[in-house]
Amino acid sequence: MLSSPAANSQAKAPPTAGRPAAPTRTTVQYAKGFTIQYLPGYKVVTIMGGTGKAAPATRYALVPRGKAHPAGFQASQVIETPIRSLVGLASLHVALVDFLNADDVLVGLGSLQYVSAVPVRQRIAQGKVFAVGDGRELNNELLIAKNLDLVMATGWPGEGLSKYQTIAAAGIPVMLNSEWVETTPLGRAEWVKVMAALLDKEALVNQKFDQIAREYHRLAALAAKDPKRPRVILNMPFKDVWYVPEAGNYMTTFLRDAGATYPWAGQKATGSLPLTVEAVAPVALTADYWLQTGTLSTRAAVAAQDARFKEFKPYKTGQLYNYNRRTNAQGSNDYWESGAVRPDLVLGDLIQILHPALLPGRQLYYYQKLRE
């Protein structure tokens, strides 16, 4: 170990240090759903399974490959870093590895269909990524046979590791993400730091994430200067129900930072409010913009969904936008993938839509205006 290239290149490193110079660390600034601690010889990543004090937390020890495992962790909660093979069960996990240019560690996905990242699509075409089945039933035998370093899943509220017992019992670590607890776009994007800790890519993540955070704050400050606060409605109702984001939804934070007037910004619920069409209609009739029209990408389709929508002001003025610009031929929408780790681009789109004069010459990235 003393003669390792890393130790040699570090002329100033004390030769008595039994390991290479301490790796760059990363600190968590915005996210509430996880923490990263740097202890001598290993890192501890703690994932919160929800919000509040009673929320269950799961701790993982990230140990350099080949080093002794610390005491107090179950075998399935010790991960050797940098990870070399990963199965990701959500679109977000594709975005996390792609953000850190580590697409080649991704060997398995829940479904091969919903992928936008081009390097991962190429690996799929080359047969280097296998499908393990999404959601309720995983192909446990395949997962165990592949000798994986880590399975990353989304841990929904109240759902523990029990679903992944079989894999964990086979010694494969399973990490549950809970990025849904985040109430801010930057907090959501900061989950890339968990992936960076797993890949020992702290230096890269610090550089890239800081750049995104700086750009996000720059854009938010720009929007704050414009005294205009356009009124915005979101989403498509299904018959009677109109789900709109509530106060703690990261989308509400996006709208605030983009300088929008959003009537339900102060109402608390769990993620979204199930309103009646009637409750939204008074706002919709006079709103300036209608964003996120679900699966619809033409104005005609909006009218076909419900003829009453033709009376809403955004329909009349054509100010209808959807975030499906980057949908590929398979029907996978990159907004749900890279959009989660590029809040600067999403905010840029929103400001460009709501305050066009502030960002002249900019091209929309995730959003597009609905065609006729």
Partner: protein
């Protein structure tokens, strides 16, 4: 029944008038209530076509509440009438419009559209072609319901035994439900979300031309049902007795099944599955009117069904909230105690079946 015939006629008229008044009251109540508070005076003004401020109130009353209330009337009366027909045809107090598997067939049609065989790519293609929209949903549900209806009608011509018919209907429903479950299993969560919202049932969103189509189909279904009153009375006494009365049992059964298929199929297509009205209202009216004469039962069920459906729609509105409960949850919550109350209060009701 014959002993009470003289006073019974008067009582029946009183009940029918009372039910009609209840429908009118519930209709007004349903239009007056909503998540946005609008004074009753303003509601009446708007309904009478006068101008009112603010403009949003006019939109809410004319474009949201009125179509929803009218849909509730159509759904309530259609489901209740077909419930009476099914309970008599199958001589089973647990029969409802869904026993023939028509509603499940409509669900299957909707699943084909929303879950598109479990393939998101094909769903995406369908939407890119502009085949989405509310008419597509109605069309898919109608196709599914019509398919099952054709199957059931075809079988009913061959199968003489009503119990076998009942089993056939339930098995067809069971197969449809399993196919849908299988698709859900292989579908993306956001597609399942839309399908789940559909299964909650909803009276909203049926506006303009859709409301006209629904009203026309329900009207035809109700006319066929009222035409079946006499054969239904004869069937109450048993098929053999009905046959000895000179009734063409096969033809009247076809009439009843066609009527229920139209009613249950169209209502499920436009509003999704709405449970319990078709099961509870027949018991309610039999208990209230104390008769099993279908010439009275069918119109009474139509009125009571409409009133109960309107009442359920009022109750979906949580006080002081901008949210609403799914209507089929309310019909079940309200319907089950109604059935219990009627059955326990008048235990004799089972004997009239």
């Amino acid at each position: 029944m014959s002993s009470a015939a003289a006073s019974g006629a008067g009582r029946t008229v009183v009940w029918l008038v009372a039910l009609a008044v209840a429908v009118a009251l519930c209709l007004v109540l349903d239009i007056a209530l909503g998540s946005v508070r609008i004074p009753v005076g303003a509601v009446v003004k708007i309904l009478l076509g006068q101008q009112s401020e603010p403009a949003a109130w006019v939109f809410i009353v004319d474009k949201i509440r009125l179509p929803k209330a009218l849909t509730a009337v159509l759904v309530g009366s259609g489901l209740a009438v077909s419930g009476v027909q099914m309970q008599t045809l199958f001589r089973n107090p647990l029969a409802s419009p869904s026993v023939l598997g028509i509603s499940a067939g409509a669900g299957l049609g909707v699943a084909v559209l929303l879950l598109a065989g479990g393939s998101a790519a094909s769903a995406y293609v369908i939407r890119q072609l502009g085949l989405g929209g509310s008419w597509a949903l109605v069309g898919a549900a109608t196709a599914g319901a019509a398919l099952v209806m054709a199957l059931v009608l075809g079988l009913s011509a061959r199968v003489r035994d009503n119990v076998v018919m009942l089993i056939v209907g339930m098995m067809v429903a069971s197969i449809s439900v399993s196919i849908v479950s299988l698709w859900q299993y292989f579908s993306a969560p956001e597609q399942i979300q839309e399908y789940l919202l559909w299964t909650f049932g909803s009276l909203g969103g049926v506006v303009g031309a859709q409301l006209v189509v629904l009203a026309a189909v329900v009207a035809v279904g109700l006319l066929l049902a009222f035409a079946s009153a006499k054969p239904l009375n004869a069937l109450l006494l048993g098929e053999n007795y009905a046959r000895s009365l000179g009734l063409a049992v096969g033809r009247s059964r076809t009439l009843v099944i066609a009527s229920t298929s139209l009613l249950a199929g169209s209502i499920t297509a436009f509003c999704g599955p709405i449970g319990f009205i078709g099961l509870a209202v027949p018991h309610l009216v039999r208990g209230l009117l104390g008769t099993s004469n279908h010439r009275i039962l069918l119109p009474a069920a139509a009125l009571a069904g409409a009133a109960l459906m309107l009442l359920c729609d009022c109750l979906t509105q949580l006080p002081g909230s901008q949210a609403a409960l799914p209507v089929s949850v309310v019909t079940s919550l309200l319907g089950a105690p109604v059935v219990l109350w009627v059955v326990l209060r008048k235990r004799g009701v089972g004997r009239t079946l």
